[in-house]
């Protein structure tokens, strides 16, 4: 039963991360494998703000801003110049993998290899439908719910959100309709980057202790959750994240916990083989 509780929290963190990741991929057409390294860099910025006597929940804003700005800069100065050269899309994916390694090990070079943790208490514990959850964990679930509702509202009801969906569905036609797609894409990097920074910080808080390489395998969970729900499908991402989050933690209770990421990998490969457009995606995209 406690593994279900852990699963729920992991799922909440993963849901925040995946919604940002899939939004980024859908609108910008960049499969940004550096997402995990931006998460952990953002977490470290939050951590340093926290070490200067700021409450962790306020320090989190530092992580959100770091994620947004780093993602925007990455697009502006790395991905866009590569995309302009009309290279095969795989080129940008490989570049992003390089950025991920530089981001992670660059961070390690700066902060060293040791584990750190936020200065905050876990809060009181609550019994909740048979689960034992700390107030930290409840806040993470609350943040996750707020993000999901917020992203839903953005995409469904705002002019910006509709323009993002239109750009994702058919960029050329979006431009024909008068949408400045470059502006929409830059804005998407900011929003999805903010979600990345937020996810990184709550990931680190939830982990308790973390180091520069803690999020290195996280991209596997992100890809599995995204492909489970269907690439570019924000609601699919929510479903995929919850399934993967719970499945990896619950399976860790029964098999060797070292293998829990393998479960995500198995799901990823199975989805790519049998239903690459996901459970919610339609076969014919674009």
């Amino acid at each position: 039963m406690s593994s279900l509780g852990f699963g729920l929290i992991s799922a909440a963190v993963l849901a925040i991360a995946t919604v940002g990741f899939t939004m980024q991929f859908a609108v910008t057409n960049v499969l940004n494998l550096a997402y995990g390294s931006i998460m952990i860099n953002s977490a470290f910025v939050s951590y340093y703000v926290n070490q200067h006597g700021v409450t962790a929940w306020v320090a989190l804003v530092g992580g959100v801003l770091t994620g947004a700005i780093a993602s925007w800069l990455l697009n502006r100065f790395v991905y866009t110049p590569f995309q302009r050269r009309n290279l095969a899309p795989i080129t940008v994916v490989i570049v992003s993998l390089g950025i991920d390694l530089m981001g992670t090990f660059g961070l390690q070079a700066i902060v060293g290899g040791g584990f750190v943790s936020f200065t905050q208490n876990q809060g009181s514990e609550y019994h909740f439908a048979g689960l034992l959850l700390s107030s930290l964990q409840l806040i993470i679930i609350g943040i996750c719910a707020a993000v999901l509702v917020g992203v839903h509202g953005l995409l469904k009801y705002t002019r910006l959100g509709k323009a993002m969906r239109a750009t994702s569905a058919n960029r050329s036609l979006a431009r024909n309709s008068g949408i400045k797609t470059n502006y929409i894409i830059s804005t998407t990097w900011l929003i999805s980057g903010a979600l990345c920074g937020l996810a990184g910080t709550v990931f680190a808080m939830n982990a308790g202790v973390f180091e520069a390489t803690s999020a290195q395998l996280y991209i596997v969970l992100l890809l599995a959750a995204m492909f489970l729900g269907g690439p570019g499908e924000p609601y699919g991402a929510m479903f995929g994240a919850i399934t993967i989050g719970v499945a990896t933690e619950v399976s860790a209770a029964y098999i060797n916990p070292d293998y829990k990421d393998v479960i995500a990998f198995v799901v990823l490969i199975a989805m790519l083989m049998f239903r690459p457009f996901g459970i919610f995606g339609s076969e014919k995209t674009n």
Binding site: R159, K162, A163, R165, N170, G178, K180, S282
Partner: protein, 253 residues
Amino acid sequence: MSVELSKKGQVLTATGLAAGYDGRAIVSDIDIEATPGKVISIVGPNGSGKSTLLKSLVGVVRVLDGTVKVGDTVITNTPSEEVAKIGVGYVPQIDDVFPPLSVKENLEIGGYLLARHEIRGRIDAVLEFFPKLKAMMSRKAGKLSGGERKMLAMGRVLMLSPSVLVLDEPTANLAPIVATQLLEEYIRGFADFGSTVLLVEQRAKAALRISDWTYVLGGGRVVLDGAPDDLAQNPIFIESFLGGGAATHAPKD
């Protein structure tokens, strides 16, 4: 037309136009003019550059040489989001709607440049013109039939009250009866109202029937142009497009 959907037209001209991909011209030496109140069609075999020509007029494909003008405004290589603002509505042949968005959302995106309070009124006007869409406002565009989808695609560009309509094979893949209705009722209707209509049409006979002037493209150049009646008598045109004995089926007026 009961509602003012499109604006009175402006003249769309291309002079000495060459356009293509990666610096290589697919079409060249193109001189065409589309005038208000007229349907101007472009016909030609597959691969003759019809779509590339249209795309170069609306900023989708790069113009390598020559000039494109709407009225007195030069729009050569103007980004397509600006071309929409100037009043040119372009409906591509495929990928003409946003499949995951609902019909209503597609129309809202069509009216993206309008003020928030104008959008609803324009949607009502478009629905009055295409009443069939009314019953499917919350349906995803990807789930529509071919004819419904094309109506939505046209409805999307009408949201901005364009003065020039540029339509790339609007009847492709439509059932013949739907295609005829689209051409003779709606598309002819825009021109009769005073808009400028430039259209690529695969089926030469249908094109001649609704056009005021037709350009024939071959190998990326204009090889022939003229009024429908004259083209219908032209031996080269008959042989290439209408098959033998077409002179007896001369299109109406």
